[in-house]
Symmetry: C2
Subunit: 342 residues, 2 copies
């Protein structure tokens, strides 16, 4: 017993069992060429000492790690949902999952995912899922699949949802309810999904023969913090909208809260519709009407895709698009007659 460090290494086991390190390694990895008696003896020592090989050391040496990585900027409702789907896809594949998160303090710097990716891919992981990456020309030897990526075209395999169609649906729903002044809380301008949702908003307006009013657009950046100011601005303007389409649920929920603070009631004075259908959206008061993009399914599909690419490195990168769907809850209604007269 001389593990000065506290950590039990393969060396400790070897010494205790009176064999070489290589032999212990063979036993641990179930390699052939070990006498039955040696095998059992080493196994016993391993059991006794509670030895477990270090993931780090093992990864460094061998190409295969049986671990797939998921890189996220932060763990928030969207990525958390995605993780659930990924975990479901991993189940009974023998793979393990490592989620690497910068802890939220990376969102600013463009290219965080590239840095993180090169830190883990190919050494720690056999392949990696990139969640909402801002760049997609990542240099990597191991397979990479991007979920909800920044750019439209990419050499990477990608999974995204029908952002444009969903946004059109959301806006048309508000129009159908009778709204004529419809505001838009935009997402992060650097994200393709955000741009598509704005395009959908405009397109639906166009289709309905309504004029697009730039004063009704504010940028919320997909986060609560970034949304609050702009949303307040919008609602306190001279002619506030009677309805708001927020580019994602988080900003929609923030908008509802802001509306309350400025004395507006949702949905009586203001209708709000979101995009994503994160679980939290059903918890709000009132429950949020939104566009469902089955985030879990995206995680599931992306992970399956990644596994395919790991199995066959020469697979052509495919681009999958998942459907979106309107989920009507309680945050929208026809505008009050008072609003109509304005």
């Amino acid at each position: 017993m001389k593990e000065a460090n506290g950590r039990i290494t393969i060396g400790d086991v070897a010494e205790r069992a009176g064999v070489s390190i290589a032999t212990v390694s063979r036993v641990v990895n179930g390699r052939y060429g070990v006498a039955q008696s040696t095998y059992t003896r080493v196994q016993a020592v391993i059991e006794d000492l509670g030895y477990e090989s270090s993931l780090v050391a093992r990864s460094l040496r061998s190409r295969r790690t049986n671990v797939i990585g998921i890189i996220v900027a932060d763990i928030e409702p969207f990525s958390a949902e995605l993780l659930k789907g990924a975990a479901r896809a991993i189940r009974s594949t023998g793979y393990e999952l490592v989620v690497y998160s910068g802890g939220g303090h990376v969102g600013d710097q463009v290219g965080w995912e590239r840095r993180y990716l090169s830190r883990v891919n190919g050494t720690l992981t056999d392949g990696t899922l990139l969640v909402t990456p801002t760049v997609v020309d990542v240099p990597s030897n191991a397979p990479v699949v991007a979920v909800d990526p920044h750019a439209g075209v990419s050499s990477l395999a990608t999974v995204e949802s029908q952002n444009l169609e969903g946004a059109v649906t959301a806006t048309e729903y508000l129009i159908r309810l009778g709204h004529r002044r419809i505001g838009f809380i935009a997402g992060r301008p650097d994200l393709e999904s955000a741009r598509l949702r704005e395009r959908g908003y405009r397109q639906a307006l166009d289709n309905a023969g309504m004029v697009f009013d730039p004063d009704l657009i504010r940028v919320g950046g997909y986060t609560r913090e970034a949304t609050e100011g702009p949303a307040r601005e919008l609602l306190e303007s001279a002619e506030p909208p009677t309805a708001i389409f927020a580019a994602n649920d988080v900003s929609a929920l923030a908008t509802i809260d802001v509306a309350r603070t400025v004395g507006m009631s949702v949905p009586d004075d203001l209708s709000v519709i979101g995009f994503d259908n994160i679980p939290e959206s059903a918890l709000s008061d009132p429950p949020l009407t939104t566009i469902d993009q089955s985030i879990q399914e995206m995680g599931y599909v992306a992970t399956r895709l990644l596994l395919d690419h790991i199995a066959d490195p020469f697979l052509e990168p495919v681009h999958k698009t998942l459907p979106t769907e309107l989920v009507v809850r309680g945050s929208c209604r026809a505008p009050s007659s008072e609003s109509f007269t304005i």
Copy 2:
């Protein structure tokens, strides 16, 4: 350019910059003793090549990694909530987060967390959060905090919620509504939280002077799959309960679904109350009445605790207990008069 492997290593940078590996390492880590001119040149090459040091290699060599680990058996609603809280606690601490998940296929083997822990703690991570571990006598040099652990007493720092009190509250709520035949879907018998919730159930019955009927208890094991059979059994028995307290939300939601398949309506024919308040519980039809244990807060508190222990290794392990609270939604009501007459 001879990165035969695809991965850009510190060696590639050194070669390109015409310096030794040691010098590049100094630059990367901001060590002193590098000429300004060398520094800039190396920095440029790093930029140019897009070099990023391998987390794995770095971890192997140095003690400090600036990464904290979270070990979970699977990523499901409970652990996902916890992760959100942990991510919030990590924010702006400079630490990064690595979540290690077995992908669900580990739940069976007791002690999975011990194996996983020794794989990462002390090498990959500076400290680790153990989520719902079944054993708590883990040997580890680096700090460990257990969340919702199996055993009551532990040498580890722990964070849990008022399981007993919450269960009493849940059961008393059903009693107050007028229920007399109250079933219980138990959790995993090896988990302390599950045992406490069962104890709370019995205690509330006792307090109300009601007799405990073993026929009204079934084991659901905290999962949807494990719950369905036992729940069906309970509901199809000769004298089904008029209300069910499920040990967690997942099994409560499963119970609601089972009730529907056997032709019972919730809450008209059957009241169901859960425990946890995962986001999904508000999404069900009807929305689930449950006991909130602020899972995110547990993740947050546990992470702060872990950081404290990393900062001061000699800190005495503390045990925190977080409050629980009844959340009334739509899955419970007074028993129908018909049920009363039984």
